[in-house]
Amino acid sequence: MHAPAAMSASGPSLRQRLAARGFDAVTLLVLPAAIFSLLLFVYPFAFGLILSFEPKSGDWLANYQRFFSDSYLYDTIYKTLALAIPVTLLNLVFAVPVAFRVRLMRRQRLLTTILVLPITLGTVLVAEGLLNYLGPQGWFNRTLLTFGLISQPLRLVHNYWGVFVSLVITGFPFTFLLTLSYVTGIDPALEQAGATLGASAWQRFRHIYLPLLMPGFAITFCLSFVQAFSVFPSAVLLGEPAGLTRVISIAAYQAAFEEYDYSMASAVAMIMGFVQLAIVVAVLASRGLFYRGPASGAKG
């Protein structure tokens, strides 16, 4: 009769108390991932941040002052946004109808595989391919010339649109796959209910699907945007790297490997990260305006 009384006096052991809060031996499995991200993400990031405040000359903010006083540098933010935002929006607008169609298809796998190929090919291969295809001597221009539709080859690469097209091609599959998963996550009975209640196809999209998909679209936008914002190979290969497509990653590359100013390059990278973060936070914050619960009505 004494033992239980003694136990209740001392209370549960430390191990029990930790377990009640969700800490037990299994928690240790987090360690490898934690070490991994510490070494490969947190450390390089902190290193770069500190490095950016140790310029070659001038006080600790000199790199940032130089960036925001030189239009050749700060314009890269605008130029990158001018590529990344329209590309991301276009991909999303393309992906939605395709996802709605694919959702109903039986051969979904095949189509998905075809659409995913550009991801596996990599941006450089796609850029090289586009150079050959859309270049002044490419098939596209030669075909149009042969049929007499144009008298001079169109300039489709080494400008803004070359980069734009390559970003659409490499970004679309990713945007599409994310969108598809959100679209298929919505109970088809909801649309059927809408139809029996008299909603036309457009009304069903506008009043049922769209509100339920908005949070998913926000996430898709963020991930696709971040990918497009860090464009580098296609901006160099297909764009005008000294002019209209001098994106922010080119500025960082030049600082690091042409001026050998790693401190400045780190500052550019930090600014790049901050711009991405600002857009992502703004988009995610706007999710609060929409319904964010589960996308099926019943409790199950």
Binding site: G194, A195, T196, G198, P294, A298, K299
Partner: protein
């Protein structure tokens, strides 16, 4: 009551068929439903009852035949043009809209003026007894409340026809009985015309004015609950109506609509429900209530009792014959498992059917 359902005389299904690939989900379904009727489509899963409902709603195109609302052909219309109210099995409430918005959805799509919409939604809410819950999201409601919202949403658009697809199958037993009564009350109060899909014969018997029994996409029998319960036309219908004992045998005599069937040497007499000639294979169907533990061997089978469950007023037993036939019976007194007894079939409610196709 200001929710006034559209007036019409009848809905007619004329040789409606539906094929999925090579599979015939529905074959030549003919059915006429009069205004104000409560029709139950009853059958096991895969019998085509939900397919029928979806074809009427327009969610599945028919591959043959036609559907008529009086003189208007509706099977060529899109679901949104038919204006039938539908209650889905999982309710399909819009999770991002609150109760009022869910109920008002159909009115909004029709461009109903705001004041009128508010008034109708209020009436629908009071009809399903959900006053004061209007601001809640579906996720905050219990299963029974979600069910009520789904019903309110379907009837507030004042449809000529209300379609219900196993609406009670997601509820627990007690709530199911309660909502069953509610559905009938709402049907009566509105004077609605309802088509109700279910696999539960109790639901069909207690709710419907007429029951349509389907099997393998074919209408097997149409009739009032009383007709179906007392005089099922086929063995599979009888199976659904509680004839749990189906004993295979051979017809040895027929007389004025009655037949005597040889089941493992025992002679069992019953009412012939399908034309049978002497020597034909036949099934004797008996409800557990109509099998009595008896002394005499007349009209009876010799069996060994397997189990006997105490059910309060009576015992429910299972038994088997020498030939391995399984039987279910009821008894007012205890029977010991393992004992050999005679089970006598009641003369009135024993039915004889031909072999199923």
């Amino acid at each position: 009551m200001a929710i006034a359902l559209s007036q019409f005389n009848e809905v007619r299904l004329d040789r409606v068929s539906r094929e999925f690939g090579s599979l015939n989900a529905l074959r030549d379904v003919n059915l006429t439903i009069k205004r104000g009727e409560f029709i139950a489509l009853l059958g096991p899963s895969g019998c085509g009852k939900s397919t029928t409902l979806n074809c009427i709603a327009g969610l599945l195109p028919v591959t043959g035949g036609s559907i008529w609302l009086d003189k208007n052909r509706v099977d060529t219309l899109k679901p949104e043009e038919r204006g039938f109210g539908m209650v889905f099995q999982n309710y399909a409430l819009f999770p991002h809209l609150n109760v009022r918005q869910n109920i008002g959805f159909g009115l909004k799509m029709r461009g109903t003026a705001k004041a009128e919409m508010e008034r109708k939604v209020d009436e629908a809410l009071s009809l399903v007894r959900l006053q004061g819950q209007g601001h809640k999201l579906p996720g905050q409601l219990s299963g029974g409340q979600q069910q009520r919202v789904a019903i309110a949403r379907a009837i507030v658009i004042e449809p000529p026809l209300v379609l219900m697809d196993e609406p009670l199958s997601n509820l627990d037993a007690k709530l199911r009985l309660e909502m069953r009564a509610e559905i009938r009350r709402i049907h009566n109060e509105l004077g609605a015309t309802t088509i109700y899909v279910t696999h539960d014969q109790d639901e069909a018997l207690s709710l419907a004015d007429r029951i349509v029994v389907l099997r393998d996409g074919i209408v097997r029998q149409v009739g009032t609950p009383k007709e179906l319960y007392e005089a099922p036309a086929h063995l599979d219908v009888a199976d659904f109506m509680g004839f749990r004992n189906k004993l295979k045998g051979k017809v040895i005599a027929t007389d004025k609509g009655r037949a005597i069937v040889d089941v493992e040497g025992a002679k069992i007499g019953g009412v012939m429900r399908e034309p049978l000639s002497i020597g034909a294979a036949a099934y004797v169907a008996i409800r557990p209530d109509d099998l009595f533990v008896a002394e005499s061997g007349e009209n009876a089978l010799a069996v060994i009792v397997d189990t006997a469950e105490y059910r309060g007023r009576e015992f429910v037993g299972t038994a088997h014959t020498k030939g391995g036939l399984e039987l279910v019976f009821r008894s007012s007194h205890a029977v010991e498992p393992g004992t050999a007894v005679q089970l006598r079939a009641g003369e009135e409610n024993t039915l004889v059917f031909a072999e199923p196709i």
